[in-house]
C-alpha cells in the first residue's frame, strides 16, 4: 500500500469573468502518494458534488502531457514544481504531508478567465491562423522523399514543433509575453525547406497578431523556458527575432 498524506488546498474560485473571485480552502485527506495531482482534485470534487456544493472547474483531457488542455499555477509555478511536465503529469508524491498548495488559474490579459481554473486561450489559435502553416492544399503535394531534410534539421524542427500550446510560458512571464509559443511555431516551419516560401509573411503576420491579442513584450527573463512542459528552448526566440528583422526589412 502506498503511503497516504493530507494536503491543504487554497483554490481560486471565480464564477465567471465578471465575478470578483476569491480563494477557498479545502482539505484533501488520505491521499495516496501515487495519485496524480488531478486525481486528487477529482476526489475533492466528488466530495463537493455529494455535499451539494459547486465543484472546482478545471480543464484536462489526455492526462499524459500532450494535449495542452490542463494547466494551473501551483504555489506560483505554472504546472507545479516538476520541471518539463504538464499539470496532469504532476503526482502527489512531490508533496509532503500537510503541505499547503495555492492553486490559481493561468493569469494574463490575453487569457480571459472562464471559471475557477479554466481560462480562454483562443488567442493562440488566432496567432496560428494568422500564418502558422504552410499553405499547401490537399492533393498538391509532391512525393515525400523529393524533399530531403537533414536529420539534424528535422530533429531541431521537431524540438520546436513539440509545443503543446498550454500557455504556461505566458503565465510564467512577468510581461505575459507569448514569444516562446509563437517562436516555437515559427522555428518549426522556418527550419524546414517546405517552410521557406512563406516565411516573411508568416513571421510578420504572426507577430502582428500576437501584439494585437495583448500579449506583452519579451525582456529576456527566460521564465518561459524554465516552466515549459516540452522544454522548448529560448533559442527559438532568438530565431524569431532574426526572422522578424529579415521579414520587415
Amino acid at each position: 500500500m502506498a503511503e497516504k498524506i493530507n494536503l491543504i488546498l487554497k483554490i481560486w474560485r471565480q464564477k465567471n469573468r465578471d465575478d470578483k473571485g476569491h480563494f477557498s480552502e479545502y482539505e484533501a485527506r488520505d491521499i495516496d502518494k501515487d495519485m496524480s495531482f488531478l486525481e486528487m482534485l477529482d476526489i475533492v470534487n466528488d466530495k463537493l458534488i455529494v455535499e451539494g456544493k459547486e465543484p472546482i472547474a478545471v480543464d484536462s483531457d489526455c492526462l499524459e502531457g500532450i494535449c495542452g488542455t490542463c494547466g494551473a499555477m501551483v504555489n506560483g509555478q505554472p504546472h507545479g514544481p516538476q520541471r518539463g511536465s504538464a499539470l496532469c503529469q504532476l503526482h502527489v508524491r512531490h508533496f509532503k504531508n500537510n503541505d499547503v498548495l495555492v492553486i490559481e488559474p493561468f493569469r494574463s490579459r490575453a487569457f480571459e478567465l472562464i471559471k475557477d481554473l479554466v481560462v480562454d486561450r483562443s488567442a493562440f489559435d488566432r496567432i496560428i491562423a494568422a500564418g502558422g502553416y504552410i499553405s499547401v492544399k490537399t492533393g498538391s503535394a509532391p512525393e515525400a522523399n523529393f524533399i530531403p531534410v537533414s536529420k539534424e534539421t528535422a530533429d531541431l524542427a521537431m524540438d520546436a514543433a513539440a509545443c503543446i500550446g498550454c500557455g504556461a510560458c505566458v503565465a510564467a512571464c512577468p510581461n505575459a509575453s507569448a514569444m516562446l509559443f509563437t517562436a516555437a511555431k515559427i522555428s518549426h516551419l522556418v527550419l524546414l525547406p517546405q517552410g521557406q516560401l512563406e516565411k516573411k509573411r508568416r513571421t510578420r503576420e504572426m507577430v502582428k497578431q500576437m501584439d494585437l491579442e495583448g500579449f506583452g513584450n519579451c525582456s529576456n527573463l527566460y521564465e518561459c523556458e524554465a516552466v515549459c512542459p516540452k522544454k522548448i528552448k529560448v533559442s527559438n526566440i532568438a530565431r524569431l527575432n532574426r526572422e522578424y528583422l529579415r521579414a520587415v526589412r
Binding site: 486525481e39 466528488d46 483531457d61 502553416y133 499553405s135 521537431m158 514543433a161 513539440a162
Partner: protein, 635 residues
C-alpha cells in the same frame, strides 16, 4: 431497410479509380452554397473540414475541446502506416491491404481496406508538404519502424508524438481555411442531437459548454468525426472527453451501429494503481520493436526482475509465435498477457502485469539510441510510476484502447441516415475485428483528406442547398428535447457520483465483455446493465446548473448514453457465436487456445438498428472475399 454498401464493380485495384470517375460533381459556383457541419476536430474531422473548404464548400466545425488542436488524435504516439516501401523490404499496397484484412481477422470489407492501402502513400506526401517533422535517416530521407502484425517496416513516425504532429498539420490546414473565411470553428461546443427533416440530416443541436446555451446549426450534410467509445470501459487509454454521445444520438434516430463488440484491448499500457485511477496511459506499440515481453517461469515468483536469471524467464510471445515474436497483433498479445496473469505468473503488486524489457536493446543499441527512439515514452513512464525503465523492465498490462465498431457506413462513408457521414474512428469501416497498429491515423486521414471530399458530392449533387433554416419546427422540437433531457439529469438528487456509476459499468464490461467473453458472463452483464441504468437515473448526483460551465453535467450526459449503449455492445458480443480478432468467446477456440472463426455463419457485418418497440434489430451485410482467400489467421 436493405443495406447497400455501394461497393463499385470491377477488379479490386481499380474500384476506387473507377468509382471516382463515376461520382457526381458539384460545380464550384454551387459548392459555395452548401454548408457542411463537421463534428470533431481530430485527424478525421480537421482534415475533412480543411479539404472541403479548400474545394469551395462552406464548413462549420465543432469540438468539445477549447481548441481544435487538442482533439484526442493528439495523443497517438507510435506512427502511421504507408506502403511506400522506402526500406526496400518488399512492401506494397497489396501487402498492406492483406496485412490489414488479416489483422482484422477477415471481418472487414475488401474494397474499403484496399482503398485505404492505396491512399496511404499520398497521406505521407501531404503531411511532409505541410511540414510534419517525421523522423529521418542521416541521408535526409524518411525513416521507418515496424509495428505489430507486419513483417516489413512501413511505419512513419515523429518521435513518440506522431499523432500530435499529424494533428498539428491538419489543424494548421484548418486554421488556414479559417482566415480565408471557408471554415467557422466552434470550440467548447458539444453536439447533443441531430436534426432530421424528411429523413435527411439537416442540422445539429449543440450545447455551448461555457454559457450552457442550446443552439441549432443548419447544414446540407452532417459529418461525424467524433472518435471511438473506449471510455465506455471507464478506464481506457483514451482522452477523458472521449465519448459516444453524438454517434449514439444519431443511432437512436436511424443510423445503424455496426459491430459494437469489436473493441481493441491494447497489450501495453501502464497498469492501474488504485480505485482513484482516472485513466490508463498507453506505452506505444513501437516499444515492441526493441522491448521483449516476459514473465517468470515460476508462479508467484516475487524476486525483482533483474534477479531472475535468463533461463527462468518465459518470453511467451517469442516462444509461441517465433515468426512475429513481440510484434504479434494486439488482440493476440493482450490475450496472451491475460493468460499468463490468470495462470498466476503475473508480476507487480497486483499480479496483473507483465514485463517489457529493454536490457537487450540497451546492450545492442546503447542508451542514446533508445532515448532518441522512445525518450518521451520512458519519460511518461517515469512520471507516472517513479521508475526508470533504462534500469529495470517496464511493467505493462492490457487496456481498452480503440473501437473498431462504429456507425455503419457505405463505400461513400454515408450512414443509413441520408446526409449523415461518419469518418475516422467513429465509423466501423476498415479494421474488421482488430486494428493493426499505426492504421487508425492512416484511416482517419484517408477518410478526411482523400475520400470524403469526393464521395460527399454524390449525395449533395441531388440536394437543394440551404433548404432549411434553424427556424424550422424540427429544430425547435429537438432543442426542446435536448433541454428537457438536461433538466431531467440535473433533477436527479441521489447520492452516488457519476464517476462511481461509470466505474461500476466499466468494471462490469471489462470483466464480461473485455479481453475474453463467455456466454454466461455476457448474460450476467446483460442482466445487470438495466439495473445500473436505473440506479443512475434515481441515485446519481450531478449538481450545478445548466446555464454555465458544468463539467459534472457534461460527464453525466455522456455516461447516460454509455449506460444505454452497454446493452448493445453486450448483445452484439452474445450474438456473435465465434471468436475473431478482439472478440474472443471462450466457447469458440482452437486446440491451441486461438480464436476460432465461424465463416459459415458469421462472415458478416452486424449492423444494428435502434427500434423503440422491438429493441435492437439486426441487419447483416454479408462480407464477400473475391481477391483473397478466407484463411486461418496464423502468425
Amino acid at each position: 431497410m436493405d443495406l447497400d454498401s455501394k461497393i463499385p464493380a470491377g477488379p479490386l485495384p481499380e474500384k476506387w479509380t473507377r468509382h471516382k470517375n463515376n461520382l457526381k460533381l458539384v460545380s464550384p459556383a454551387n459548392k459555395r452554397k452548401f454548408t457542411l457541419l463537421v463534428v470533431g476536430t481530430g485527424l478525421a474531422g480537421s482534415s475533412a473540414a480543411a479539404s472541403l473548404s479548400e474545394i469551395g464548400y462552406k464548413v462549420k466545425i465543432f469540438c468539445i475541446n477549447d481548441t481544435p488542436r487538442r482533439a484526442h488524435s493528439i495523443s497517438a504516439q507510435g506512427g502511421i502506416n504507408a506502403a511506400k516501401n522506402y526500406p526496400n523490404d518488399g512492401d506494397s499496397v497489396e501487402r498492406l491491404f492483406y496485412d490489414t484484412i488479416k489483422g482484422g481477422d477477415f471481418r472487414s470489407r475488401e474494397a474499403n481496406v484496399y482503398r485505404m492501402a492505396e491512399l496511404s502513400n499520398v497521406i505521407i506526401d501531404q503531411c511532409v508538404a505541410q511540414g510534419v517533422p517525421f523522423a529521418r535517416e542521416y541521408s535526409g530521407y524518411l525513416a521507418n519502424l515496424s509495428f505489430g502484425g507486419a513483417q516489413v517496416s512501413r511505419t512513419f513516425y515523429a518521435r513518440g508524438q506522431t499523432g500530435q504532429q499529424l494533428l498539428l498539420g491538419a489543424y494548421s490546414a484548418l486554421m488556414k481555411e479559417v482566415v480565408r473565411g471557408g471554415v467557422e470553428v466552434h470550440t467548447r461546443c458539444e453536439m447533443q442531437d441531430i436534426v432530421l427533416i424528411d429523413g435527411k440530416a439537416k442540422g445539429i443541436v449543440v450545447r455551448d459548454l461555457v454559457s450552457g446555451k442550446i443552439e441549432s446549426y443548419a447544414g446540407d450534410a452532417v459529418i461525424l468525426a467524433t472518435g471511438g467509445y473506449s471510455n465506455v470501459f471507464y478506464l481506457s487509454t483514451n482522452a477523458k472527453s472521449g465519448n459516444l454521445s453524438a454517434a449514439w444520438r444519431t443511432h437512436k434516430k436511424g443510423a445503424y451501429f455496426a459491430n459494437p463488440c469489436f473493441t481493441q484491448i491494447h497489450p501495453t499500457s501502464i497498469p492501474a494503481k488504485g480505485e482513484y485511477q482516472s485513466k490508463l496511459t498507453l506505452m506505444s506499440e513501437s516499444l515492441r520493436n526493441d522491448g521483449r515481453i516476459w514473465v517468470p517461469m515460476q508462479k508467484g515468483d516475487t524476486r525483482e526482475p533483474n534477479q531472475i536469471p535468463e533461463k527462468e524467464r518465459d518470453y511467451y510471445l517469442e516462444r509461441k509465435y517465433p515468426a512475429f515474436g513481440n510484434l504479434m497483433p494486439r488482440d493476440i498479445a493482450s490475450r496472451a498477457a491475460k493468460e499468463v496473469c490468470d495462470g498466476g505468473r503475473g508480476v507487480g503488486p497486483t499480479g496483473q502485469a507483465v514485463y517489457l524489457d529493454f536490457a537487450d536493446a540497451l546492450e545492442r543499441l546503447g542508451q542514446d539510441t533508445l532515448k532518441e527512439r522512445y525518450g518521451n515514452l520512458f519519460e511518461i513512464y517515469e512520471r507516472i510510476t517513479d521508475r526508470n525503465a533504462y534500469e529495470e523492465p517496464m511493467t505493462i498490462f492490457p487496456a481498452p484502447h480503440y473501437t473498431m465498431g462504429g456507425l455503419w457506413v457505405d463505400y461513400n462513408l454515408m450512414s443509413t441516415i441520408p446526409g449523415l457521414f461518419a469518418i475516422g474512428e467513429v465509423n466501423f469501416s476498415d479494421h474488421g475485428a482488430n486494428r493493426l497498429g499505426a492504421s487508425a491515423l492512416m484511416q482517419g486521414l484517408t477518410d478526411g483528406y482523400f475520400i470524403l471530399p469526393y464521395t460527399i458530392a454524390e449525395y449533395l449533387a441531388d440536394e437543394t442547398p440551404g433548404e432549411f433554416s434553424v427556424g424550422h419546427e424540427e429544430f425547435k422540437a429537438v432543442e426542446q428535447a435536448v433541454a428537457e433531457n438536461i433538466k431531467k439529469i440535473l433533477s436527479i438528487k441521489g447520492r452516488r457520483t457519476v464517476n462511481q456509476i461509470h466505474r461500476e459499468l466499466g468494471m462490469l464490461l471489462w470483466e464480461n465483455c473485455g479481453i475474453s467473453r463467455s456466454r454466461a458472463g455476457l448474460k450476467e452483464a446483460a442482466e445487470k446493465i438495466p439495473a445500473l441504468r436505473e440506479e443512475f437515473w434515481e441515485n446519481a448526483v450531478v449538481g450545478g446548473s445548466a446555464d454555465d460551465l458544468n463539467q459534472s453535467l457534461e460527464k453525466a450526459l455522456r455516461v447516460a448514453d454509455y449506460l444505454e449503449f452497454a446493452e448493445l455492445i453486450v448483445g452484439d458480443a452474445l450474438h456473435r457465436e465465434e471468436s475473431c480478432g478482439g472478440h474472443f468467446r471462450t466457447e469458440y477456440q482452437t486446440d491451441e487456445s486461438e480464436a476460432k472463426r465461424n465463416d459459415k455463419e458469421f462472415c458478416y457485418v452486424a449492423a444494428w438498428e435502434f427500434n423503440n418497440d422491438d429493441g435492437f434489430v439486426l441487419h447483416k451485410e454479408e462480407l464477400t472475399f473475391e481477391h483473397i482467400n478466407l484463411g486461418e489467421r496464423k502468425y
